[in-house]
């Protein structure tokens, strides 16, 4: 490196010649050594404070309850999978995993079917007030819906079944999907659709054959977020699920509702509910970020 003289190294001198010396032109602001050190330390603190609690949960899930109570075994202990065996072995925990998955999957899929065309139409025809109707679902407190829902659905003897859980979780998924895809369609140029129209497709045909395939990235973003929010939802399932249709968050909650807390088991159960969602998040990071920031930057 020392033998190579880059233009960058020459620049300070070259610049003084070209511009007044008190205003050196810099692409990046001047960063002192102290700032750089500060930045690295700050970033490490940030990463540790966000990850350490999660690591703690993971470690505790691998400890026996005796070790959890022993402060000297904070980091050094003999890992055991006994907690996972207990959790997955008893209480049909695997069936709760299935319930969570099925409810999140079905509610996301059904919300896509009605949500994607709605988002398209609301974006293209600038139906801001109609969009507000759908977004109401996001604003309204869920408790105010639960009593009437419980009453109506129990009269139809649907409480405790999958259908009512899926319906209630669609309520979480649909506004997300509509909100994310509306901002996606807002920024999607009209030209391609118009070209398809010129080629003889109807409006609906152009939507199905041109716009829809082109919006797959947006649909993926919306589906991933809808799935995560449905998977994480607690309140609707707490009231509307039955013994066999409990979703994971409710199953975890029931873990502590009775008897004294089995910390190892509780942490193992918590790891089981968070791991799938974190794996999804790791692989779809870009989509999640674009979904969370949808509509936030264009004002």
């Amino acid at each position: 490196m020392s033998s190579v003289v880059t233009p960058k190294m020459l620049r300070p001198g070259a610049e003084t010649a070209a511009r007044p010396p008190q205003q050196p032109r810099r692409k990046k602001p001047f960063k002192s050594r102290a700032y750089k050190v500060f930045r690295v330390v700050a970033l490490i603190v940030i990463v540790v404070s966000f990850l350490a609690p999660l690591a703690w949960m993971l470690l505790a899930s691998l400890k026996t309850n005796v070790d959890i109570y022993d402060a000297s075994k904070t980091l050094i202990f003999e890992p055991t999978t006994a907690n996972y065996e207990t959790v997955l072995g008893r209480n049909n925990y695997l069936s709760f995993v299935f319930n969570s998955f099925w409810v999140a999957f079905a509610s996301t899929a059904l919300s896509l079917i009605i949500g994607v065309p709605a988002a398209y139409s609301m974006s293209r025809f600038a139906m801001r007030r109609s969009a507000l109707v759908v977004l109401m679902a996001r604003i309204i407190p869920g408790v105010s819906l639960l009593v009437p829902w419980y009453y109506v659905f129990s009269n139809m003897s649907m409480v405790g079944g999958y259908s009512v859980l899926i319906l209630s979780h669609m309520f979480v998924a649909l506004p997300l999907i509509v909100y994310i895809l509306m901002s996606y369609y807002d920024s999607m140029p009209l030209e391609l659709e118009e070209a398809a129209r010129v080629d003889g497709l109807t409006h609906i045909g152009a939507f199905l054959k041109v716009t829809l395939p082109l919006s797959m990235a947006g649909i993926a973003t919306a589906s991933i977020l809808a799935f995560i929010f449905s998977w994480n939802n607690f309140m609707f399932a707490l009231v509307l699920s039955g013994a066999d249709t409990k979703t994971l968050p409710v199953a975890i909650f029931n873990f502590v509702a009775y008897a004294s807390i089995d910390w190892g088991g509780l942490m193992a159960a918590s790891v089981v509910v968070t791991i799938p969602i974190m794996v999804i998040a790791l692989f779809t990071q870009k989509y999640i970020v674009s979904g969370l920031t949808a509509g936030a930057t264009k004002g």
């Binding site: 990046k28 700050a42 970033l43 990463v47 966000f50 990850l51 609690p53 999660l54 703690w56 949960m57 959890i68 109570y69 904070t74 009605i114 065309p117 709605a118 139409s121 609301m122 293209r124 025809f125 139906m127 759908v134 109401m136 679902a137 604003i139 309204i140 407190p141 869920g142 408790v143 105010s144 819906l145 639960l146 009593v147 009453y151 109506v152 319906l167 309520f171 109807t202 409006h203 609906i204 939507f207 994480n232 607690f234 309140m235 707490l238 968050p249 975890i252 909650f253 910390w263 918590s270 509910v273 968070t274 969602i277 999804i280 998040a281 970020v289 969370l292 920031t293 936030a296 004002g299």
Partner: protein
């Protein structure tokens, strides 16, 4: 062949034309109807229940009692007003710290650096974690006897704290947990805003000799205002309605002394623990008006900023 298929084809074409002409509502109506049916009826019913003394069972006879519930709730200084206060303390404190911290972290991450990817992953994980599991995780960490929090305090010679189980510390602790989980959301939104900023105003100010703080205060923040307000809007909707975390850490009624009982937890308890539907509906209607009020103020502010 052409002749035979003609009438059929024109029928199809008539459908198709009709569908195309009405595609605006054809596309939008199912989603709107779904939400409207699931909202309007329950809201109307909640409004009705708030005017009755319904309790015990939703099927039980109830009497129309006018605004008696509202009078009772609005004069209730034992549960209702403290819950209102807690809702605002929780939302206000969490939101304030999240915005300040979120802005600091977003500024740190703004310029590219080595290992950026890993920091972003670390920030994303709390955000997607299931709130109930997060609550359980912090319950263990904040356990007064076996939790890591008190172990860490002991290293510095600080006496053990009761954290979630303390009457005075519980609310602060759940606020802390909310900050841990949701600051990343603010970071991600603000970072997207920062990245989309044009470099020029900042550059111009630098040439005029503005220091980093001045450029942040007079250039970055005003330009970021629409994004900042969106972040506040999204976070406050969720913070006002926080339920999972509070219920998972403190259970029914927000703990035995209602330490973390916000309006949402209070209304849930009235409905499903006490089956006092009349009162619960009244609390919910007031709560709903509060949320709408907050949203209205924020969206107004957003419009002002955009002008």
């Amino acid at each position: 062949m052409t002749v035979a298929s003609l009438p059929q084809k024109s029928a199809w074409k008539a459908y198709s034309d009709w569908a195309n002409d009405h595609r605006k509502w054809l596309f939008a109506a199912p989603a709107m109807a779904f939400v409207a049916i699931l909202i309007i009826f329950p809201l109307a019913w909640t409004l009705y229940l708030s005017l009755t003394d319904a309790s015990g069972s939703v099927r039980a006879e109830s009497e129309f009692i006018g605004f008696a519930n509202y009078a009772e709730v609005l004069t209730d200084t034992e549960r209702f007003w403290p819950a209102v206060a807690r809702t605002f303390i929780f939302t206000g404190a969490a939101l304030l710290v999240q915005m300040v911290l979120g802005m600091c972290i977003a500024l740190l991450l703004w310029r590219p650096f080595k290992g950026e990817k890993w920091v972003r992953v670390a920030i994303l994980l709390p955000l997607v974690a299931t709130p109930v599991a997060v609550g359980m995780m912090w319950r263990l960490i904040f356990d007064p006897n076996i939790g890591f929090a008190n172990q860490a305090l002991a290293w510095f010679g600080i006496p053990a704290q009761p954290w979630l189980s303390g009457q005075d510390t519980a609310l602060a602790t759940v606020i802390f947990i909310d900050i841990w989980q949701w600051t990343p959301m603010v970071v991600i939104i603000l970072l997207a805003g920062l990245t989309s900023l044009s470099e020029e105003p900042d550059e111009a100010a630098r040439i005029d000799g503005a220091n980093a703080w001045q450029r942040f205060k007079f250039i970055t923040v005003p330009l970021m205002m629409p994004t900042i307000i969106v972040a506040i809007l999204l976070r406050s909707i969720d913070a006002l309605k926080t339920f999972d975390l509070l219920y998972a850490t403190k259970g029914r009624g927000g703990g035995s002394f209602h330490e973390v009982e916000t309006l949402n937890v209070y209304a849930y308890g009235l409905s499903f623990d006490y089956n006092d539907y009349g009162l619960s509906s009244t609390v919910l209607i007031i709560f709903f008006l509060i949320i709408i009020g907050c949203m209205w103020v924020l969206t107004r502010r957003r419009k002002d900023v955009q002008k």
